[in-house]
């Protein structure tokens, strides 16, 4: 579905201005226009309450909806670009979810409603921003090569080595059954190893991060299996520790690391 764009009535604002799309809340008292950088090129500006500013654009009071994934992807990208720009400019920001739109109630317009919301939530927003001060989010993905790890698991278990030898020496039906058994045990062995590695990694990162969120692992790509997909909230001073830990893991045989960031703290607000 394509969104229809109405032209606003002169002076009144009208339906076109009935909502405020909120990208994030930044720790600044700066009242400023950021230019036409918003979703679908809308003008983005700040609405200030004391030392907090909501970064918004004016729009109709209805969510952005489309069945076209490419269109949605473009909106979400525009959203994150604005959040990132605000984050680079003012440092500490609370990103909001895509499609957070404030609309006016009877008797108030959306702008007043937004100011009222900032006022009512001020202590909570301020506390959350203080908590995030000087910190950034990093996406950490750890991959391993299941083939290589499998060989290692196999070599370190005398029982598996014996099974492998037996599977080769038997008659057709027996060899098949032994091979099935071997594969099952190998899979269990690799899973146990993955659980141990994950626990170890999580513990290490937990020590140099202020927060670690466990995200879902994505399916294997190019023969590499994702062992861990983590979002870490890390302060500037402790970032070198994180980097050192990851470097250590990345140097191990069969392991590789992908580190994304610094990013606005999407997962921690």
């Amino acid at each position: 579905m394509e969104r229809s764009v109405h032209t606003s009535g002169p002076g009144t604002g009208g339906q076109e201005q009935a909502g405020r799309y909120v990208y994030c809340v930044a720790w600044t008292g700066e009242e400023v226009s950021m230019g036409d950088v918003g979703i679908e090129g809308r003008g983005v500006y700040t609405v200030v309450h004391r030392d907090l500013a909501a970064v918004v654009h004016a729009c109709p009071a209805q969510p952005y909806e489309s069945s076209d994934l490419a269109v949605v992807a473009e909106w979400v990208l525009a959203h994150s670009r604005v959040v990132e720009a605000a984050w680079r400019r003012w440092g500490t920001t609370l990103p909001l979810t895509f499609n957070t739109i404030i609309r006016g109630r009877e008797g108030t317009d959306a702008g007043e409603e937004l100011r009222a919301w900032l006022g009512a939530e001020y202590p909570a927003l301020r506390a959350r921003l203080e908590n995030l001060q000087g910190k950034a989010e990093y996406g950490v993905q750890v991959f391993w090569d299941p083939g290589l790890i499998g060989m290692d698991v196999l070599a370190s278990s005398p029982e598996l080595v014996r099974l492998e030898e037996e599977a080769g020496a038997r008659s057709r039906g027996l060899a098949y059954m032994y091979r099935q058994r071997l594969e099952r045990m190998l899979r269990d062995g690799i899973e146990a190893r993955a659980a141990k590695e994950f626990e170890d990694l999580y513990g290490r990162l937990r020590r140099c991060a202020d927060g670690v969120h466990v995200e879902r692992v994505k399916s294997a790509e190019q023969g590499l299996q994702m062992l861990a997909n983590l979002s870490c909230l890390v302060s500037g001073e402790r970032y070198p520790d994180l980097e050192a830990e990851l470097e250590r893991v990345g140097q191990r045989d069969g392991f590789s690391i992908r580190l994304a960031g610094p990013l606005p703290p999407y997962s921690f607000c």
Binding site: G173, A175, Y176, M177, Q180, R181, V214
Partner: protein, 106 residues
């Protein structure tokens, strides 16, 4: 009003893919049971041999059917879809935090 167009070839492939995927899953369950019995030691070597032969024959038959019907891709997509459903299920059960998030959004 929206009209759903169903291509007969797609329908045939979809249904056959589903059926063969189910047969594969049943075969894997059988194989797992067979290996467990072998591990339990309740089978003689001859019985294990016969089981192994039978399972190999089933493997070969299923592969042949997939090639003859041209449904290898359809079978794979059914199984990938099922894997995702199971993943979501486990993620919800094992990760109550995320489950809570989903509830909040709804």
């Amino acid at each position: 009003m929206s009209v759903v167009n169903i291509d007969e070839g797609d329908l045939r492939n979809g249904v056959l893919g589903l059926v063969v995927a189910l047969v594969e899953i049943i075969k894997e369950a059988l194989r797992l049971q067979a290996v467990k019995r072998m591990e339990g030691g309740s089978l003689t070597e001859e019985e294990v041999e016969r089981l192994g032969e039978a399972l190999m024959d089933i493997d070969a038959a299923i592969e042949k059917i997939k090639v003859e019907l041209g449904v290898a891709e359809a079978v794979k997509s059914v199984r990938d879809g099922l894997d995702r459903v199971v993943d979501d299920l486990f993620d919800g059960v094992l990760n109550p935090g995320r489950w809570q998030e989903v509830q909040n959004v709804r």
